[in-house]
């Protein structure tokens, strides 16, 4: 098994290297002290496993992974001193991590698990879990939108938005029977709304999935979408895939690759 060690602290790298000594079948193919060097080395050396520090100067560990093409994602054992959010993410996505100071037994167990990742299927599954973690934990969506009308700025909370309609250069944010005009295109607004909660069904419509009550098939994979507030919207064929995926997933919370 070929290993790469990535940590900005020389002693932390040395700690990993020393602990790897007892694993005769593990070869250390490289060490790097920052994120961009790590990206280069992973691409150049295709290591089987990467010991990856989360916090580093320049690019951090997550940014390193995000910079890699999916097919180049290695098996990763994260190293972390004190990143509580990251720990939750690792647990949720069943990714291996080591806390500093490193415990020898946990270290050995992590190497053992990485060793079992040899075949291509488990490698692919690991890459999938990494991608899911990056997607869910690193994208943050605004929790509110300031809507200006004259000298007044009204705050619309994202959690209150039920549906959005295009209106020229503006977008209508509909919440609790009110309509707020926001100067924003549908495309840029769509990017600011969590895809696990909002669904684009038409060039001019985004709806909150929790508010969808009924779908009436019309024709050509087009639907009439009825929301909780009684409003009705027509979905278009362009967005039929998303609507049908959502329908079949049956899980409003799961985030879909957008």
């Amino acid at each position: 098994m070929r290993a790469l060690i990535v940590d900005d602290e020389p002693l932390a790298r040395r700690g990993v290297a020393l602990r790897l000594k007892k694993f005769k079948d593990v070869e250390i193919v490289g060490e790097c002290g920052d994120g961009s060097a790590a990206v280069q080395k992973i691409l150049a050396l295709s290591p089987d496993v990467v010991f990856l520090d989360v916090q580093m100067p320049g690019m951090d560990g997550f940014e390193v992974l995000r910079a890699l093409p999916r097919e180049n994602l290695p098996s990763v054992i994260f190293l972390t001193a004190y990143e509580r959010h990251a720990l939750r993410a690792f647990e949720v996505h069943a990714l291996d991590y080591l806390l500093k100071p490193v415990d020898d037994e946990r270290f050995s167990a992590a190497v053992e698990r990485a060793r079992q990742m040899g075949d291509s299927t488990s490698k692919l599954r690991m890459a999938e879990r990494i991608l899911q973690m990056l997607h869910r934990n690193c994208v943050t969506y605004p929790s509110r939108f300031p809507v200006r009308s004259g000298s007044r700025i009204q705050v619309v909370l994202t959690e209150d938005i039920e549906w959005v309609a295009a209106a020229g250069d503006y977008a209508e944010l509909h919440s609790a029977g009110h309509c707020h005009l926001l100067r924003e295109t549908m495309n840029s607004l769509e990017e600011k709304l969590d895809p696990s909660q909002f669904l684009r069904i038409h060039r001019s419509r985004i709806v909150r999935v929790r508010c969808i009550r009924e779908l009436h098939a019309i024709e050509n994979r087009e639907y009439r979408v009825k929301l909780l507030d009684g409003s009705e919207h027509r979905s278009s064929r362009t967005y039929a895939d998303r609507l049908e995926n959502w329908l079949s997933s049956g899980n409003h919370e799961r985030s879909r690759p957008s």
Binding site: R14, G58, Y82, L99, K100, P101
Partner: protein, 216 residues
């Protein structure tokens, strides 16, 4: 009335007391663990003693609100020794301490959070590392202390730094202890990096506070 005020002040100061950065603590312990694996017992034990010193100082609730600068500097040196073990040659330190400032009374735990801030923003995030400069001089019966870090000229120019807990706490502590009779400023010199300067009235430490044993 006066007593209530001073009690409130003490409570305020203790709430502002510095807390050890957990990230620093765990990384330092990890470095000590490597030194042990490496069979370098002297370096490992020295590092553990230094970490212990830092922990003790931050846990010590009886710490005086004010202390001689010499003691503050000894503490900062301990801290810097740990950081240098961790960061290796990426961290360079330059101290220019005027002898007549050593006895000056300054707020306890004043310098370390500022130096830590400078490392966190000016050295640790840079791949090539950087230099920390600590300078103190006596001028017109006032003590001037400057802490500088090297770095690109544009770094942290957006005022983000001023929100850092370290600096906000320091500002509040100085305000509580000295009122208007102090200066605390943050600037970005032409040459790059960042500079924090503190100016407080000069008061000499009482003799029994002098000659604090130093670990070195």
């Amino acid at each position: 009335m006066l007593r209530a005020e001073s009690e409130a002040r003490a409570a305020r100061l203790s709430a502002l007391r510095y807390q050890l950065n957990p990230h620093f603590l765990f990384n330092s312990l990890n470095a000590a663990s490597t030194l042990i694996l490496d069979g370098n017992a002297p370096a490992a034990t020295r590092m553990l003693a230094q970490i212990g010193e830092l922990l003790r100082a931050t846990l010590d609730n009886d710490a005086l609100p004010e202390t001689p600068l010499s003691r503050e500097l000894a503490f900062v040196k301990q801290y810097l020794a740990i950081e240098q073990t961790r960061l290796g040659e990426r961290l360079r330190v330059d101290m220019a301490i005027s002898k007549d400032t050593l006895d000056a009374i300054v707020p306890g735990m004043l310098l370390q959070p500022l130096v830590e801030n400078a490392i966190r923003h000016g050295v640790a995030p840079l791949i090539e590392g950087g230099t920390i400069e600590i300078e103190s001089v006596l001028r017109d019966h006032r003590v001037l202390i400057a802490i500088r870090n090297s770095g690109p000229r544009t770094s942290n120019h957006n005022g983000k730094l001023s929100k850092g807990i370290g600096l906000a706490n320091t500002a509040e502590r100085l305000e509580t202890l000295y009122g208007d009779n102090h200066r605390f400023s943050l600037s970005w010199p032409e040459a790059g990096g960042c500079e924090v300067t503190i100016e407080v009235p000069f008061r000499k430490a009482a003799p029994e506070l002098e000659g604090v044993p130093c670990a070195h």
